[in-house]
């Protein structure tokens, strides 16, 4: 085997098919996508090379792009600040539930295994102002004043969407933290108790800091999932009413395929990737702090 691996030609022949697939399926399409970003192609037929025109337009003139970017960031921040603390709290709670632990953690994970299409249609029915569960519940408990057109009112619609994506992604966030908690050795709990820590101190000062590596993973997964989120919006509002719930993924799909501005859509996707890369680098920098061995 050693002999085999030292022959450069063999290595070439063995690596060639794999790299060919990689190049033709991934690297080449990405390159084409960047290339088309510099053209005014409509998806069919001839096109002209327009230089940086598309990118200039997106950055300086395209309000929908900035709306979708802000919405995506809003979704990300809301997920990290609302969904994750709840997930940590519930995972701590569940470790104390004794024989109910297994059942409860399965129940909490259910939303994550339901197909997104089903989830979206389910919530669209819950929000429906005609026959929706939410408005009916509000009415029956005497809060009719709070009744809303949850998806039709552009001020609230994005929040309604955020709730759905949080509900949908909750299972994974929970699972990560739960696994992290299980990884904290029992000795540390005992040591903290012997040192006289009350439950609050135990969790706030010992366990949660030890969850930091898991938090880092969970936060990065959440950020990526939120930024590329499109299915829920596509299925529930189509980005409407009037682009108020537009997200980047959905917007670039609409531009490329519905508006037949393939070149412009590709330019959006290129900028989209750049934004995601910047955010990831920044995040990595902030989250790099090591907690040490345990």
């Amino acid at each position: 085997m050693n002999q085999l691996m030292s022959d450069k030609r063999t290595i070439f022949f063995l690596v060639a098919p794999g790299s060919l697939i990689l190049i033709s399926m991934i690297i080449f399409p990405i390159g084409m996508s960047i290339y088309y970003g510099f053209t005014d192609w409509g998806g069919i037929g001839d096109y002209n090379f327009v230089g940086l025109e598309n990118f200039k337009n997106i950055i300086f003139n395209d309000e929908i792009f900035s709306t979708s970017l802000i919405n995506a960031l809003l979704l990300t921040v809301a997920t990290i600040l609302i969904q994750h603390p709840i997930a940590i709290f519930l995972s701590i709670l569940i470790t104390h539930c004794g024989r109910w632990e297994k059942v409860l953690r399965t129940i909490l994970f259910i939303p994550a295994i339901i197909s997104i299409v089903v989830t979206a249609k389910l919530w669209a029915s819950i929000y429906n102002p005609q026959y929706g569960l939410l408005n009916n519940v509000l009415e029956s408990i005497g809060l009719s004043a709070l009744k809303q057109d949850w998806l039709g009112n552009p001020d609230i619609a994005i929040w309604s969407i955020i709730v759905v994506t949080m509900w949908q992604g909750f299972g994974y966030a929970f699972l990560l933290y739960y696994a992290g908690l299980k990884g904290v050795p029992d000795e540390l709990y005992e040591a903290a108790k012997i040192d006289g820590a009350n439950p609050f101190q135990l969790y706030l000062q010992v366990v949660i800091p030890l969850l930091a590596p898991m938090m880092r993973v969970a936060v990065i997964i959440a950020v990526i999932a939120c930024l590329k989120q499109m299915e829920v919006v596509y299925l529930m509002t189509g980005g409407g009413p009037g682009n108020s719930t537009q997200l980047l993924g959905n917007y670039l799909y609409q531009t490329a395929f519905s508006s037949a501005q393939y070149g412009y859509g590709n330019a959006i996707s290129v900028l989209f990737v750049i934004v995601v890369l910047i955010i990831t680098v920044v995040l990595n920098k902030f989250l790099k702090r090591d907690v040490g061995e345990y």
Partner: protein, 444 residues
């Protein structure tokens, strides 16, 4: 020597695994490739037929399938393979087929610039000879949308227009009269609201119905459909006071509650179900919904009481001023290997005992050809014919489909923004003007 052998063996092993993947990939490619059968040299012909009517049992899809089946029976050497998708995915897939130059032999097209112009301009559609379809009773002007520079690229299959469907039982039981004027529409909507019944439902989430409604709103202001087209062509402006008034009027009607709560997030199915399940008194939708009267999914009390009226008027317009056009039709792809066979099939399809007769009898829609009344029409069909016969002027292609695909997206979302109050009627006019300007530049 040993080294070389080892190398050969490992490459062999690798290529076997790869070959396994490869044959899988090929298999799936074949099944949706253009499927022409030329292996045995006989005259067997396979035509691919691509349609946005996935229900192959009832409605338009059912009629399509029925004609296809009988054609295959009469012409055993022809096999027609049907691929069907829902409307929006259909339009997306057409774009993918076009960009890879793999359009199916026969495809459904819409005779509207926003859809068909890119296909014609890039030479993807086969030029048809209009003489072949003479004497089949096509309505005058119905070929216009499918023609460019005097050449014909598709044959229309439907006459579409936008009426207002009503549930007569809900009107009668509450002692209300179907609205004849726009004021009556607002008044009757308020009364329905007070009774806890939804007035008008429609599919605002999909967006396309809203600009179609705008065509009516503006026509009812000015007495003609012309201003809309002139402004799009740049000969007039959407900042014209009449346009602003029409926009303000539409916003006023939305605010007055003419449309049911949540109409901007209702998709096609939701709106149709609300009406069909008797939860709404009126339904703003195209004449293609004629099948409501025979749809077994809805209660009998609905099917017996569904009716249709002209869109309400003002004193400047006639009830017969209809938003009417010949939307859908069939075209043949230029890259098809069996164009002659495909033309033969289309001629068979459109002959008077097939499409025009069958589609009318099935109650699925109104053909773009002359047809005979059978006497067995549902009440809804009779009312529909009466509305069409009342025609005093027709709009032609609705505004949203007259320009580029981008213009269509923009005008749809501008309407939503107008109705949610993000845009004032004046801003709406300005934005619309800007979009029309952009579309003119793009199509130059």
């Amino acid at each position: 020597m040993k080294k070389r052998l080892l190398m050969l063996v490992s490459i062999l092993a690798l290529s076997i695994t790869l070959a396994a993947c490869n044959s899988n990939a090929k298999g799936s490619e074949n099944s949706d490739g253009n499927g022409t059968d030329k292996g045995d040299g006989s005259e067997k012909v396979t035509l691919n037929f691509f349609t946005p009517n996935p229900d192959r049992e009832t409605g338009m899809g059912g009629v399509e399938q029925q004609i296809i089946d009988s054609y295959m029976e009469e012409n055993p050497h022809v096999t027609i393979e049907v691929e069907a998708l829902q409307d929006e995915p259909y339009k997306d897939k057409i774009k993918i087929y076009s960009s890879t130059d793999q359009l199916p032999d026969i495809l459904m097209t819409w005779g509207q610039s926003s859809f068909i112009a890119p296909l014609i301009d890039n030479g993807l559609l086969h030029e048809l000879d209009s003489a072949e379809f003479e004497g089949m009773g096509f309505i005058e002007g119905s070929f216009d949308g499918f023609s460019k520079d005097g050449k014909l690229y598709g044959v229309p299959k439907n006459t579409d227009f936008l009426p207002l469907f009503i549930n007569k039982r809900l009107f009668e039981e509450n002692g209300l009269e179907p609205p004849k004027t726009e004021e009556e529409l607002i008044a009757v909507s308020k009364q329905f609201r007070d009774l806890g019944i939804n007035p008008v439902v429609t599919n605002g989430m999909d967006g396309w119905i809203l600009p179609m409604w705008f065509d009516y709103a503006l026509q009812r202001e000015t007495g003609s459909f012309d201003l809309m087209d002139q402004a799009l062509a740049g000969d007039a402006s959407y900042t014209d006071p009449a346009v602003i008034d029409a926009a303000a009027k539409m916003k006023g009607m939305v605010d007055a509650g003419v449309f049911a709560e949540g109409f901007l997030t209702a998709d096609y199915g939701t709106a149709r179900n609300l009406f069909g399940q008797e939860k709404a008194a009126m339904y703003l939708m195209g004449a293609w919904e004629m099948g409501l009267a025979t749809d077994e999914n809805f209660p009998e009390s609905f099917r017996e009481n569904v009716g249709v009226i002209n869109y309400p008027v003002t004193d400047k317009s006639e009830p017969g001023d209809l938003l009417a056009y010949n939307g859908a039709g069939y075209s043949i792809a230029e890259n098809s290997e069996h164009k002659e066979e495909a033309v033969k099939f289309l001629k068979y399809f459109y002959s008077s005992e097939n499409w025009p007769k069958l589609v009318w009898e099935s109650g699925a829609g109104m053909p773009a050809q002359k047809f005979d009344l059978t006497g067995d029409e549902s009440q809804l069909q009779k009312e529909m014919v009466d509305i069409f016969n009342s025609l005093t002027s027709a709009s032609g292609t609705p505004i949203l489909d007259e320009s580029t695909p981008e213009f269509k997206e923009t005008i749809m979302s501008l309407h939503q923004e107008l109705f949610t109050g993000e845009l004032t009627p004046e801003e709406f006019g300005e934005e619309l003007d800007a979009a029309a300007q952009k579309a003119r530049e793009a199509s130059e």
